[in-house]
């Protein structure tokens, strides 16, 4: 179904961090840009002007953050602009999408953490066409109000529902049914919160933890897809928090999930070296949420740490692995 295509070489290897791959495909452009965290630096590859894929080598954190490790890098697509957001142990940086100019820097408040606890920001998503949400190690979700252009970015709200470090945040990628909300946040304990974004965010439902970290989460047509440390993928109704499907998907900790909004294809990558492609659908008669397995890819001797579809139908995907200095790519046959 999918076959391996030419890899993209990176200047340095990828770190073992959750959701460690971000892909940007500007509309109308064939070629995508990729970013993955190496550790103290972030690798960003952008297509060269001639259309061939060159790469912009190691993209170092500038100025303030010289002595700091990154946790995540992700592009946030808003109607008027695209920002590249970097999180680290010191705070949150936002850049223009090509990484050329830093437009905003937010320092994390070390004081609000108990001594000895690690401080960092993790979990990045654009929400409601206007906001960028970023999670912290104390369980807070910072909501940034992003103007159409310029640097006048402000913290519009701080969401305080999680008690454990945020792992991932996801915005609705399709059409949310009524009352289903448009944002889901996940934490280290495995608790999930579903929100409705706006001037003031509203908590719609809370899915309690069951003892397993939720490392990656996606939201599509009112369905929450969550990947856990025990290798399971669970599907919930966003509006009610009800469990609709349970998949024993991987033999080890899941590190990344992605969803192709036009088809409902779900991608999962884990420490067990496997990347799986699934298909989520809704049975029109019973209204049951269904999930079927489409394809399994074994990335030999690699602990997968990032996996993303490269197009909205899910006809191609890219994978990063711990200690690997390349991005593997696969396309539909």
């Amino acid at each position: 179904m999918y076959r391996k295509e030419k890899s993209i070489q990176l200047k340095s290897s990828s770190a073992a961090l959750y959701n460690n791959l971000s892909v940007l495909r500007p509309p109308g452009r064939q070629l995508a840009a990729f970013s993955a965290v190496h550790g103290p630096s972030v690798n960003v590859t952008v297509p060269s002007l001639e259309g061939r894929e060159g790469f912009c080598p190691v993209f170092p954190l500038t100025g303030v953050l010289l002595s700091c490790l990154s946790f995540q890098a992700a592009w946030c697509v808003l109607p008027s602009r695209v920002l590249l957001v970097l999180t680290s142990q010191k705070g949150i940086q936002m850049y223009e999408s090509d990484g050329s100019i830093m437009v905003y820097w937010h320092a994390l408040d070390v004081m609000e953490h108990p001594p000895g606890q690690t401080v960092f920001a993790r979990g990045i998503a654009a929400a409601g066409g206007r906001f960028i949400c970023v999670g912290t190690s104390s369980g807070l979700v910072l909501v940034f109000d992003i103007p159409p252009k310029g640097t006048n970015i402000t913290v519009s709200e701080v969401l305080e529902q999680h008690r454990d470090a945020i792992t991932d945040i996801a915005a609705e990628l399709g059409q949310a049914p009524d009352g289903a909300g448009d944002l889901v946040t996940a934490d280290d304990a495995g608790a999930l919160c579903v929100w409705s974004s706006g001037e003031e965010f509203t908590l719609l439902s809370k899915i309690p933890a069951f003892g397993c970290t939720c490392s990656s989460v996606k939201l599509w047509n009112g369905v929450v897809a969550a990947g856990y440390g025990n290798g399971q993928i669970l599907l919930y109704e966003a509006a009610t928090g009800l469990l609709r499907a349970e998949v024993n998907a991987h033999a080890r900790w899941i590190y990344a999930l992605d969803l192709a909004p036009e088809t409902g294809k779900l991608l999962s990558g884990a420490e067990d070296s496997f990347v799986h492609v699934w298909k989520i659908s809704r049975n029109p008669d019973t209204d049951d949420v269904e999930i079927e397995h489409c394809h399994a890819e074994c990335v030999t001797d690699t602990q997968v740490c990032g996996a993303r579809f490269c197009d909205p139908e899910g006809n191609s995907f890219a994978v990063t692995g711990y200690d690997l200095s390349e991005i593997f790519r696969y396309g539909r046959v």
């Binding site: 073992a16 025990n230 399971q232 024993n248 799986h276 999930i291 074994c298 030999t300 602990q303 200095s325």
Partner: protein, 389 residues
């Protein structure tokens, strides 16, 4: 990253160091009556192991170690092991010390990678400590120290969540990132490929708490299961039999962290003819640490705490060679790639309190994290100054 990683890193690397030293000492040991003055005997071996283990599990050192703190850089940590390896009548040349450190780090990297659950790193640590207890089984005093450390491990780590353990594991993996030194015993056992990367099996028992992949269950809006399907992959997983013990004593079940060396399975590293990956990606994967001074201060304190048995005139220091011949050791020293040099600063221990304060001050001015060319004038002056202490 996680501020609770250092004790696990230190104890496991220390354990691997002891396994290797024990194997090499046994391999080079001569029966007592037949041994010449400069050859190893069983008595010498036991003494070296005792001395190193006593130093390693020193109460004050352990207290310092367990305080929440950032990980040391590879260079700074290597200096600590250098001191530890020289805590007895044994000495190692730079080349042998480099090889020892390479082996220790690759072995623990392998164990961290293959740990089924992040929490199982604790079981690996217990395996190391259990075997260390066997090394000193006839010394109740030191045994007590090791047990104390075991209790401290249980107290510090038992309450951590799986998510926090994963952060510790991620911190360790960051430390080991880009290290691909090939180890002969790993290559022979086919757990490492010729490009230096470890083989990750897709078969065997799944981690405790994980289900064997394959089952998909669908529920209706009442919570009843309405459909069940299966999928297959190339993986061949089975349910694990039982969980390892996290108590002071018990069957750890996991084999990672147990002693894989024996006299008949010597260890060698391959440095020459390395793939170009090795040369270009072997840089230190940490940011320049403005707090490098703090690391050196800790080390200075460690030197003050250690009851170093400074060999007097009558006691000879025996040299241990980690290579098969002296010529091999010399050759290794000459051909070690520049990028992989640890540039260790050798520090002579001193017992005078006045000198110790001076030493701390001097050490405070040193920057270990920034790699400096060895021929820099300032570096040589400082070394010369310390030699004269």
């Amino acid at each position: 990253m996680s501020a609770r990683t250092l004790p696990l890193l230190f104890l496991n690397l220390g354990g691997e160091m002891l396994y290797i030293l024990d194997q090499r000492l046994r391999a080079q040991s001569i029966p007592g009556e037949k041994a010449r003055k400069d050859e190893w005997t069983d008595v010498d071996r036991k003494r070296v192991m005792n001395d190193i283990i006593t130093t390693m599990f020193n109460k004050k050192f352990m207290e310092e170690l367990f305080k929440p703190q950032e990980l040391y850089s590879k260079k700074a940590l290597r200096t600590v092991y250098d001191r530890l390896a020289h805590a007895s009548i044994m000495r190692l040349n730079q080349a042998s010390m480099d090889k020892l450190y390479d082996l220790m780090t690759m072995a623990f990297k392998y164990q961290v990678l293959l740990c089924p659950r992040p929490k199982d790193i604790l079981l690996v640590t217990f395996n190391h400590l259990d075997t260390i207890k066997d090394f000193i089984s006839d010394s109740p005093g030191i045994l007590n120290q090791v047990d104390e450390t075991l209790r401290q491990l249980i107290e510090t780590y038992s309450c951590l969540s799986a998510g926090e353990f994963q952060l510790i594991r991620q911190t360790l993996l960051l430390f080991f990132q880009d290290m691909h030194i090939r180890v002969s015993i790993f290559l022979k056992d086919k757990v490492q490929n010729s490009n230096g990367r470890f083989v990750l099996p897709i078969s065997g028992p799944v981690p405790w708490g994980t289900e064997v992949p394959g089952l998909i269950r669908v529920f209706n809006h009442n919570g009843d299961e309405v459909k069940r399907t299966e999928f297959t992959t190339d993986g061949n997983y089975v349910t694990p039999q039982r969980e390892g013990s996290f108590d002071l004593y018990g069957d750890r079940v996991l084999k990672l962290g147990t002693n894989m060396y024996s006299v008949s399975r010597p260890v060698e590293t391959h440095m020459s003819g390395s793939s170009k990956n090795l040369a270009s990606h072997a840089k230190e994967n940490v940011v320049p640490n403005p707090l490098a001074k703090e690391e050196m201060n800790f080390l200075a304190r460690l030197l003050g705490v250690l009851d170093v048995k400074t060999p007097g005139g009558s006691e000879t220091r025996f040299r241990l060679n980690l290579f098969t011949t002296d010529e091999e050791e010399e050759h290794a020293a000459l051909t070690r790639p520049e990028e992989l040099s640890y540039k260790v600063i050798n520090i002579e221990a001193t017992q005078e309190p006045g000198r110790r304060a001076e030493l701390s001050r001097i050490l405070g001015e040193l920057e270990v994290a920034e790699p400096r060319p060895a021929s820099s004038g300032k570096g040589e002056d400082l070394l010369a100054l310390m030699d004269g202490l």
